[in-house]
Symmetry: C2
């Protein structure tokens, strides 16, 4: 699993502060999470292949999280994309996008699906054999969701050295990977545990931005391997959190600690801060394994 940060600053973009966008590579998927203005250019700079992105998750309808979406969608038209594209985001996102396409007299060359979200409870919004994605209801000035990306338990792994000691036709290897014992032609039954190793531990990533401090979310994201939690402010500006519905770095640390997360990544920094080290320092007061999101940085997990 890999998390590629394309942008991690809040509010207005500048030549050095790019708004939220990140690409999660999980099993056979590349998911785009949020899409601030300029994301398509950030993707080109970071060599993210447009057609690999089939699912885009938008947390909320503030500009620094989605003003780049219409540009990405339009560029796919110009490039004559054929692969389908799914957009998950708050109710209203479909109207905004379709209105702009209509007024530009543009039709998508590819199937474009909207999955509008309005529930205040966690819900599964994507699932296949490999991965499951759920919303994490957040508390912000507008309707906002975080997203929990969970790998499913994979197949067991064949112990090829042991398997080859028995007269097993390789067509049965898949059954073994699926946990089945293998019956030989001579009637013997080989216990699956002899033939296979357990699957890798499934990994999980939680994206939580933007949100006020909300300790009760720790239950839903318990034991995630990687947690991205917004930290718009340092403690000296904690008083701004209440009206803006944002969090401090230390509050992000508390969430990580309560959730027993593997690693915490901070981001969504207010542009008032020129240096970011203090975000890490303040979160580390409560949680050890903290890193700073930086545009262009790639975090590997597992």
């Amino acid at each position: 699993m890999q998390l590629h940060i394309l942008g991690c600053h809040s509010a207005s973009p500048s030549p050095t502060a790019h708004p939220t966008a990140q690409v999660l590579t999980i099993r056979n998927h590349q998911f785009l999470i949020d899409c601030g203005e300029g994301t398509q250019v950030r993707m080109r700079l970071n060599k993210i292949k447009f057609t690999r992105i089939k699912h885009i998750f938008i947390s909320h309808l503030h500009g620094d999280h989605f003003y780049g979406l219409i540009g990405f969608i339009s560029t796919q038209c110009l490039l004559q994309r054929e692969t389908e594209l799914h957009i998950y985001g708050p109710k209203g996102i479909k109207e905004i996008i379709l209105l702009q396409l209509k007024l530009a007299n543009t039709y998508t060359s590819y199937p474009l699906y909207f999955h509008e979200l309005s529930s205040d409870e966690p819900e599964v919004i994507f699932e296949d054999e490999q991965v499951i994605v759920s919303t994490i209801p957040l508390v912000h000035r507008v309707y906002t969701n975080g997203f929990l990306f969970q790998e499913k338990l994979g197949e067991r792994k064949l112990n090829i050295e042991v398997a080859q000691q028995y007269p097993i036709d390789p067509v049965y290897y898949n059954s073994a990977k699926q946990g089945k014992d293998i019956k030989l032609d001579d009637g013997r039954v080989i216990d699956n545990k002899k033939l296979t190793f357990p699957p890798d531990k499934p990994l999980a990533y939680a994206f939580c931005s933007d949100t006020a401090f909300q300790p009760e979310m720790a239950t839903q994201i318990a034991k995630v391997d990687l947690l991205y939690h917004e930290s718009t402010f340092l403690e000296e500006h904690e008083d701004l959190c209440e009206v803006t519905k944002h969090s401090t770095a230390k509050q992000a640390g508390i969430i990580a600690q309560k959730a027993n997360a593997g690693r915490l990544i901070l981001g969504h920094y207010s542009s008032r801060y020129k240096k970011l080290e203090r975000f890490q320092q303040e979160a580390r007061e409560v949680f050890e394994n903290v890193e700073l999101a930086i545009s262009g940085k790639v975090f590997e997990v597992g």
Copy 2:
């Protein structure tokens, strides 16, 4: 008069090809013309002060000409702008912007006015004592206007050396600048032409993008000092002009020649061309004074 190119490529933005946006400084105004994705960052890089922009002219609702507008408008909210902002653009632009502000639960801290355009005839859309702005109806795949920016004839200029030879109270200098003869206390009348020089020749700039080749526009933009005319294609791809409703560099040259323009600036290059010199060469076959728009370049006139 000064034209500052912020972006001049067509279609999808890339790290080196920025979509259309330019700032015209004319008399006491700075007008923003078109606002492709990323324009606010281009403005910061080019040190354009946001609050100096009070009027934004949008040619048409294709993304490479206006997807940066909502970001610019939102950033003005975050910066707590108080100065009014006027948007001139095709019918529908108000609905797009207001829908996005509504769904972001955002209110502008400043007066925001929309002037929606729908006429197929040239019309005056802005006028004050200094400047007049008219639409130039263009032919494109969607409703599109170019814009003609004209300085008004200014005041006559006082010949201070001559004026001081007469017993004229300086409070009458303004009357002289407005073309009036001055009557002295002893009854003599001083002819205005003795006291003043003629005003500077008023300058004019025509922005024509995007458009199919449309020679009849030459009448409306006759004798402009500066003409920006799109040149999406070179002659080898002239066949693409008909379906896309764009022009070649040579066609832009023909317009400049027919209009007897002072200078032609080419832009809106298709991203298929890596080198731009041929645009200049092909336009120069019909019109001598041709320059290439380049992001960040400033053209001075007058």
